[in-house]
């Protein structure tokens, strides 16, 4: 199989949905003296090597990777470098 | 690939050892040289690596099994002359398998035995705390699988640097203790929780010597049907590698940086750090238990240090046979691994099974059903040789007998008594603040926030949990498991450890750790106790480190023998040293007892108002290494000692009192002494308590604050209903005990010395301090 495409899929909480990991990281950073941090939001990044097209990657997000109730997804296409 | 060894000189031999990171000394390199000279050929890299693995400290315990020169004479095999000697001399019929296999096994109920093993995973946790701790848990669980055991509980004891250690003082390359502790705890929780094994007991301690070198002790308890504990491999049996794929994980750590491997270094960067996959191990566990239940295997072992090289070699020696291994059959993570890398890789989540030919197909099917890869990679042969092939070519051939005829290490031991400044301060008028300070000090303060991140009751067997009392927030002395659905019999798990004492005298440190582990076990009703030792020490090539080690080992013999508690397994980790110096000599003693009926278990929280409170045991002026001295800025010298013969009578009597139902609550006295034990019991029961120090049985003349905070061993605080006063006292006739107070209607802890009030605090204030609110 010769795969030419790499997609980066970023899953984050929808605005307004509580992000406990972001909040506790914020607390942790402030405890270390980084007081000027205003907000931390967490996200998960999947790097998918596949020749599926964008629409199908979106389908993956809808069906498994993102939770439709609380999460948004963002897909970025990254073309793989030619190996030549 | 051959390595030129024949005809080269000593310097060149050492150069090879160093360059290839074999950690073999000159004597060992010479022995290998002459072995191959006699064969008339140079060794292959596979063969050389096999010796390096098999002869490493990690695998053969060179120090404990070698020779030690002391002022008093030569010790031949410290392990046999101290720790294992206890077990041999006691010769308990309930010890089923000791010091032989991956874990010690004792009888439990009928055919069911209990296996217990505790390991350390210190260096990996210093480098990658999450993965290091997680794979530590994964590794010790495989030790239990390696005796055909079903893991049922974990115990974890952690030692970190002070959490407020200044950043600017941190040695270069060292991670901050806060970072290390956070991720070690997450790693332990993740592995145990994911595998569905409850973490039921543990401790967390802090000391500056652990800044560069944290200690991570991971223990697992398992059940083994004795009739299915099979170790009878024979020529013709197939070697089946089970579990995850093999990668470059953990091969000599940093070998990749060497020029030879440089081209591939980038590709494999990051794989040296292992994260662990608990779900893979859970699936392996299912498969192994099924193979065991159907009795399809003839032997089993885990793949730990040294990987396949150690596992195959040790099994061959055990069954007095040889083996053929085809390395190209091993499923790999990356295609370009060389044969020696496959042979010594320490990739996680792998086990080696020996399977009689006729059962092979069924075994492979069992693992396939669990989505676990299982691959036949070789077989046992009659001839006493390891024959290692790669794509049809013989890449290594070693006599098993020579492989296990390692060179004896010789160490020097010098013990020099240390004197620390004596504590000099007068007794404060009010000791309430001292108590609150001790309650909120790092080693004593509540660990609830950590305990709750571990699932401590999955399997629904944990009947005495780590937190007790009305609000479920007081520290239990030990955990009790009820592992069989059709029996009330219980397993009791506890530990003892105190690095403060190690700074003064390793002998009494070890003695205290044993006493503490036993009394914690007894405090909830445990009996017929077996022990495990885990030594974490500095470099054994330094005589002063060895001096302490010998003393600690001698204490293990003296004290455990008197308590009649055999050691069943143990481990030593002896290079816990960095440029910042060695770690404080630390011995963890883990204890496993039984409870004939878990319904008779006793917890530490006060139960009723207006009941009597007794102290069992004698109080000495022993504040060296105490928390009281510590909060006043001293270490002192008067480390607590142990009179094990007297202590044994006390615990036997206490167990009898518990069985008669005379004990409402019981708590052991350890860090912080009587004051902290009383405070914790009051917090647990949310019941007030009044104590008169004048009534405490002491030896010698003690200041009131010393009576209150002395950390003398072998003591318990127990609550007895007024109506049982006579029965209790009659039973304890002949034992040192005294009635020192009562539980009250109030919500305060009050401590008097005659009529003078030394401590007066509400339980709420005690609780706040203990929960870190000071």
């Amino acid at each position: 199989m010769c795969i030419n495409m790499i997609y980066e899929v970023r899953i984050s909480y929808k605005p307004g949905v509580q992000d406990p990991e972001g909040e506790s990281t914020l607390e942790g950073l402030r405890a270390l003296g980084f007081e000027k941090v205003e907000e931390v939001r967490s996200a998960k990044l999947y790097v998918i090597k596949s020749d599926y097209d964008l629409q199908q990657i979106e389908e993956m997000c809808k069906r498994l990777l993102a939770n439709p109730i609380s999460q948004d997804y963002e897909i970025r296409e990254v073309k793989q470098h030619s190996s030549r | 690939m051959r390595v030129k060894l024949i005809g080269i000189d000593a310097n060149q031999l050492l150069e090879i050892s160093e360059k290839r990171q074999l950690s073999l000394n000159l004597e060992e390199m010479k022995a290998i040289q002459s072995y191959f000279s006699s064969l008339g050929r140079d060794p292959t890299d596979v063969e050389l690596e096999t010796f390096a693995q098999t002869w490493s400290e990690h695998c053969v315990h060179k120090t404990f099994k070698g020779e030690i020169l002391t002022k008093e004479g030569k010790i031949n095999n410290l392990l046999k002359s101290t720790i294992a000697r206890v077990t041999k001399e006691l010769n308990c019929e309930w010890c089923f398998s000791v010091f032989e296999d991956n874990a010690g096994i004792v009888d439990f109920e009928g055919d069911i035995g209990v296996a217990f093993k505790v390991e350390t995973h210190n260096h990996p946790s210093a480098i990658e705390p999450f993965g290091g701790a997680a794979t530590g848990v994964g590794g010790v669980i495989r030790d239990i699988l390696g005796v055909w055991g079903e893991p049922i509980a974990n115990t974890d004891v952690l030692c970190f640097g002070p959490q407020d250690f200044p950043y600017h003082k941190l040695p270069k390359g060292t991670k901050h203790p806060r970072f290390i502790s956070k991720y070690v705890i997450l790693g332990i929780g993740a592995y145990g929780n994911n595998m569905g094994i409850p973490t039921v007991n543990g401790a967390i301690l802090f000391d500056e010597s652990y800044v560069t070198n944290p200690l991570v002790f991971c223990g697992t308890v398992g059940l083994v049907p004795k009739s299915k504990y099979v170790r009878k491999g024979k020529p013709g049996d197939i070697l089946v590698l089970v579990g995850g794929k093999t990668g470059r994980d953990g091969i000599h750590g940093v070998t990749f940086a060497s020029t030879e491997l440089h081209e591939e270094a980038e590709e494999t960067f990051g794989t040296a750090v292992q994260i662990g996959d608990p779900i893979e191990e859970e699936k392996i566990k299912r498969g192994i238990i099924e193979v065991r239940n159907r009795q399809l295997g003839s032997a089993i072992t885990d793949l730990g240090g040294g990987g396949l090289s150690s596992a195959v070699g040790e099994l061959a020696r055990l069954f007095n046979c040889g083996a053929i291994v085809e390395l190209d059959k091993v499923p790999l993570k990356y295609p370009k691994m060389s044969p020696w890398e496959i042979w010594v890789s320490e990739s996680q989540e792998r086990m080696l099974l020996c399977v009689p030919k006729e059962n092979l197909e069924e075994v492979l099917e069992i693992f396939s059903d669990e989505n676990v890869e299982a691959t036949p990679i070789g077989e046992f042969i009659r001839e006493n040789k390891l024959n290692i092939y790669y794509k049809g070519e013989l890449v290594g051939q070693i006599d098993v007998s020579f492989l296990f005829n390692e060179i004896k290490a010789v160490r020097k031991a010098v013990w020099k008594e240390r004197r620390h400044p004596e504590a000099k301060f007068s007794m404060p008028d009010d000791l309430t603040l001292d108590l609150l300070k001790i309650l909120s000090s790092p080693n004593v303060v509540s660990k609830e926030s950590v305990i709750r991140t571990y699932d401590h009751e999955v399997k629904a067997m944990t009947v005495l949990k780590p937190l007790q009392g009305v609000y479920n927030d007081a520290p239990s002395d030990a955990a009790v498991l009820k592992p069989l659905y059709n029996s009330w019999k219980g397993i009791v798990i506890s530990n003892g450890i105190n690095p403060e004492y190690g700074k003064i005298d390793p002998y009494w440190m070890a003695a205290s750790a044993i006493d503490e582990a036993i009394r914690n076990n007894v405090a909830v009703g445990g009996r017929r106790i077996a022990l495990l030792d885990n030594f974490c020490w500095g470099n054994p090539e330094k005589p002063e480190n060895m001096g302490g080690l010998v003393r600690a080992a001698q204490a293990c013999y003296d004290i455990a023998k008197a308590f009649e508690t055999p050691f069943i397994s143990g481990k030593d980790s002896l290079y816990n040293e960095s440029s910042a110096g060695p770690v404080t000599p630390t011995l963890l003693i883990s204890a496993i007892g039984i409870l004939p009926d878990v319904r008779k278990a006793v917890s530490m929280d006060l139960k009723e108002k207006n009941s009597l409170v007794y102290i069992i045991g004698l109080t000495f002026d022993e504040l060296g290494g105490s928390h009281y001295y510590k909060v006043h800025g001293y270490l002192g010298n008067s480390v607590p000692k142990v009179d094990a013969l007297r202590a044994k009578i006390q615990i036997d009597t206490l167990i009898r009192a518990m069985d008669k139902g005379l004990i409402l609550s019981c708590h052991d006295l350890s860090e912080g002494g009587l004051a902290v034990a009383a405070a914790e019991m009051a917090i647990g029961g949310n019941i007030g308590l009044e104590i008169d120090l004048e009534r405490v049985l002491v030896r010698g003349k003690l200041r009131s604050d010393h009576i209150l905070f002395s950390e003398s061993n072998s003591r318990f605080l127990v609550e007895v209903a007024e109506k049982n006063k006579d029965a209790f006292e009659e039973l304890f006739n002949g034992c040192p005990y005294s009635e020192i107070g009562v539980t009250t209607e109030s919500d305060e802890l009050i401590v008097y010395a005659s009529s003078r009030k030394l401590i007066s605090s509400t339980i709420d204030d005690l609780r706040k301090a203990w929960q870190g609110g000071l």
Binding site: - | M195, I279, D369, D455, V458, L464, V598, D605
Partner: protein, 265 residues
Amino acid sequence: MRDIKFCVLRGPGTNCDIETKVSLEHFRCTAEILHINKLIKGERSLLDYHGLVIPGGFSYGDRVRSGAIMGKTLMKKIGNEIKKFVEEEKPILGICNGFQVLVEAGMLPGFKEEQEVALGTNSSSRFEDRWVYLVNENRGNCIFTRNLKKVLRMPVAHGEGKLILPLGLEEEYLDRLKRNDQIVFRYSYEDGTPALGKYPHNPNGSIFDIAGICDPSGLILGMMPHPERAFHWITYPDWTRKGLKGYGDGYVIFENMVKYVKDNF
């Protein structure tokens, strides 16, 4: 009476299956621990069983989200079998990870045939094991909670148990759950007063303190707390001070499940 048989379904990483099986078998029925692979491969059929329990654990390592892979896999591979099972009015119980699986599979709350709610990361952002009080608010729809007392005590042990409803539609969803009598357990104080989001009584920040819900038919129950760990008083955290009182609060839930099958099949 015909032999009653339950399926305790496990996937890779499920780990509360044995104690769940033991809890069911206490009521003289058969509970078989079955690997999901056997259903996927068609070696076994769900329809051979009278009831289904999806126990706790970390199915597929909780990767992506707790319960997601197992939930989606079930629907994709044996969706029709499950539909048939539900049509036959056989009971389904999801505990902890099993609840997450049912939600990810779109079987709970069961308004539509797709995922409508979520079990998100605890507000504390960490895994927590603690005993909680639950108030039983079901008015009779849920077959698992009939004759159950008002306030129960059980442990929770999870990192992702906070019920989340679609943003902006919370009130609408809550109304619907209440109207359909689908709310079963809410986190509460000892006296049964709902926790109103107060930690640690509500251990995960779940909306409306919800700890367990059923589908509109009352035959599918999902709950975060572990009834199998509260089956007998000996596993309660403070039995040494309160005494042993026989069976615990989880007992009746299993009893009801078995009884329902005995009465109807």
